[in-house]
């Protein structure tokens, strides 16, 4: 009788400790998940900012200015154009 009780007590203790450990682990994992989600949000914000930056660099006014002034490009005159028929 006593032996059985001791055994049960040991099992109960082990289960209780296991419960505590599981809870602790769950919380740790949750914190980690939380951190990753936070990172995801901040990356999304950064993505938006990069898109904005890209759009700003790619403004047509800026492209035209660089093409004209730095690269010395100009639209072809009408006589310099050759239309190519698409192969059918």
């Amino acid at each position: 009788m006593l032996r059985l009780n001791l055994l049960l007590l040991a099992i109960v203790l082990a289960s209780a400790l296991g419960g505590v450990a599981a809870q602790h682990k769950a919380r740790k994992l949750f914190t980690e998940l939380e951190r990753e989600q936070e990172r995801m949000r901040s990356l999304e914000v950064e993505w938006g900012q990069l898109q904005l930056e890209q759009s700003t660099w790619a403004t047509h006014a800026r492209i035209e200015q660089i093409a004209r002034e730095r690269l010395r490009m100009r639209p072809p005159a009408a006589g310099q154009l050759l239309a190519v028929e698409a192969a059918r």
Binding site: R27, T31, A61, A67, G79
Partner: protein, 575 residues
């Protein structure tokens, strides 16, 4: 004597005393049990709440506003988080050095800062929408009573080029003008919230009850083509400056799908920096301002006459001596042309000729056509403040009014309505609804107004109008056949025609298989020239040439240089 032998102890107490005390104690226990039952089971909300407030927190989950992109996915409007600095004035007792440091970081005047902090209110914004890195430096100062709040700020990379189409949002990130307002429901996000348990270190360890996820706003893809829009805006700007005009507007439509590829107005504003805005800058003229379209309506009168079989393409019309008296009013032409065919009437833009054509038409027929073309009713694009224009009921038309209406006076339209009406010629006689957003598939068929035959004949007339001998040779483009019509209308003010003008040009290309419609309107050109063919047609030509090239439309005319009769203005072509 021992205590145990005390005679008092042998005295028997009455039984009720013991029972009385027992009952008293028992009822006290019952009372306690009832109270604890009340607190913990029946009415436990209050304590539960108090307990939770020790460790659980509600976190706001902010949602971002949808982005706006052009048809190829280039971003036109993006929201990005910024910080706002706010203060509880009562707590914010800053030393002069602290105030100076804060003001320097926020690029504010110290006096202005102190004035705000001296406020009687419980809550004041010190400065809204500052970049996150500045906000971090402010937080590092650890000033008492100064707090931060996360907000969103909207940026428009293309600035004033797309200002009128996109509109803008207020400081609370809600749309106030343009697309931002028209599509507010789709663009706006809905903030969510969650209740969590935090541990001693402030880390979130668990979600309690349900999480309400934030809903980000939907992204919107416009029909706008950023390149075409840029071409349209810069060339309009050039022309408005060159002709010292008061204002201007331009619209580019895709003939096949009815999509609005470009929409620009001047004067414009920079949506990223909206200090010192005035009403004139904000007006989206192409949609909310009406004007008398003038001669740009003549082709519709001609089309109706063709459609009803009253005239043929080459029916001769006597326009000499260049004026025509109807009732007490007289209509004038700029020159006396003599006998012209119907096509030449359109080519030369003869008022007398068109008035004579209109005289063969019933007012009801003309009214019905204008009505079907959409004049006098808003386009229904969902744009805020869209104007309907004015088309009076035909029963009130006097003969002179019918004659002037045939060449675009006594009727008013928006530039967008005018451009859309030209769809009837550019397509084979039908008009389709316009769209500000990109369409996956074009509308199948529109409302038919003219027969395909009529549309073809009017196209031929409009092509003649841009040939030498027409009113707008400057509208021609190398490599493409162009068709279009000029308009020069005196402005009506307080019921009187003034000597200020609206110069307009509406046209399409390539004429063999139209792809684009461009409509240009220049308000009050004041540098000498005011004819639509001189002021608006060159803008049309540059924008059309650039747009056709951008869209890769195959040329339908030889690529020989165009012989332009006027002295070629020293305006560079845009890339």
């Amino acid at each position: 004597m021992k205590f145990g032998n005390n005679p008092l102890l042998s005295q028997r107490l009455p039984a009720w005393r013991a029972r009385f005390v027992a009952t008293l104690i028992l009822s006290a226990f019952c009372l306690l049990a009832a109270r604890s039952l009340w607190l913990q089971v029946v009415n436990n909300d209050f304590l539960q709440q108090k307990g939770e407030s020790r460790y659980s927190r509600v976190i706001e989950l902010s949602a971002t506003r949808g982005r706006i992109a052009d048809r190829s996915g280039d971003m036109l409007a993006v929201s990005t988080p910024v910080k706002s600095i706010w203060a509880i004035p009562e707590d914010a007792r800053l030393s002069p050095a602290q105030a100076r440091a804060l003001a320097a970081l926020l690029q504010m005047d110290v006096r202005e800062l102190n004035r705000r902090l001296a406020s009687e209110k419980d809550f004041v914004f010190v400065k809204r929408q500052i970049p996150p890195d500045v906000a971090e430096k402010v937080a590092a100062l650890e000033l008492p009573g100064i707090h931060q709040q996360r907000e969103f700020r909207r940026y428009y990379p293309s600035g004033e080029v797309t200002a009128h189409v996109l509109g803008f949002t207020g400081v609370d990130d809600a749309g106030q003008e343009g697309i931002e307002l028209a599509f507010e429901a789709a663009l706006a996000g809905r903030a969510g919230s969650r209740r969590v348990i935090k541990d001693r270190l402030g880390r979130i360890v668990e979600d309690v009850d349900s999480v309400r996820p934030p809903q980000d706003g939907r992204d919107i893809t416009l029909a706008l083509d950023a390149k075409v829009q840029y071409l349209a805006y810069t060339h309009l700007k050039q022309a408005v400056a060159e002709h010292k005009a008061k204002a201007g507007g331009i619209v580019v439509l895709d003939v096949r799908s009815g999509e609005v590829l470009a929409l620009a107005n001047l004067p414009a504003f920079n949506p990223n920096n909206r200090v010192r805005l005035n009403g004139a800058q904000l007006r989206n003229r192409a949609l909310i301002d009406v004007f008398e379209p003038g001669s740009t309506l003549k082709p519709f009168t001609a089309a109706l006459a063709l459609e009803k079989g009253r005239f043929r393409f080459d029916t001769p019309i006597q326009t000499a001596p260049g004026r025509l008296t109807i009732g007490s009013a007289t209509i004038h032409d700029t020159h006396a042309y003599g006998t012209l065919t119907l096509a030449q009437v359109i080519q030369k833009s003869s008022n007398v000729g068109v008035a004579k054509v209109a005289a063969t038409l019933a007012p009801e027929e003309m009214w019905r056509m204008y009505d079907e073309l959409g004049f006098g009713q808003p386009l229904g694009l969902g744009f805020p403040g869209e104007a309907a224009g004015r088309l009076r009921p035909f029963k009130t038309w006097r003969p002179i009014e019918q004659a002037t209406m045939a060449y675009g006076h006594g009727i008013s339209v928006t530039l967008m309505q005018l451009a859309r009406a030209y769809l009837a010629f550019a397509r084979d006689g039908d008009v389709i609804p316009l769209s500000l957003t990109r369409l996956e598939s074009p509308p199948v068929a529109g409302k038919s107004i003219f027969s395909a035959q009529t549309a073809r004949e009017v196209r031929a007339m409009l092509e003649m109008a841009v040939q030498p001998g027409g009113t707008a040779p400057q509208a021609r483009i190398a490599g493409y056949r162009v068709a279009g019509k000029t308009g020069t209308a005196r402005k009506l003010e307080a019921g009187q025609y003034t000597d200020r003008y609206v110069a307009a040009f509406v046209g399409f290309a390539p004429a063999s298989d139209p792809r684009l419609i461009v409509a240009v309107m220049i308000d009050e050109p004041a540098a000498g020239k005011y004819y639509g063919g001189e002021v608006a047609a060159p803008v049309f030509a540059r924008v059309m040439a650039g747009s056709l090239r951008t869209l890769g439309v195959a040329p339908d005319a030889p690529l020989a240089p165009v012989q332009v009769a006027h002295d070629a203005a020293a305006v560079p072509d845009s890339l």
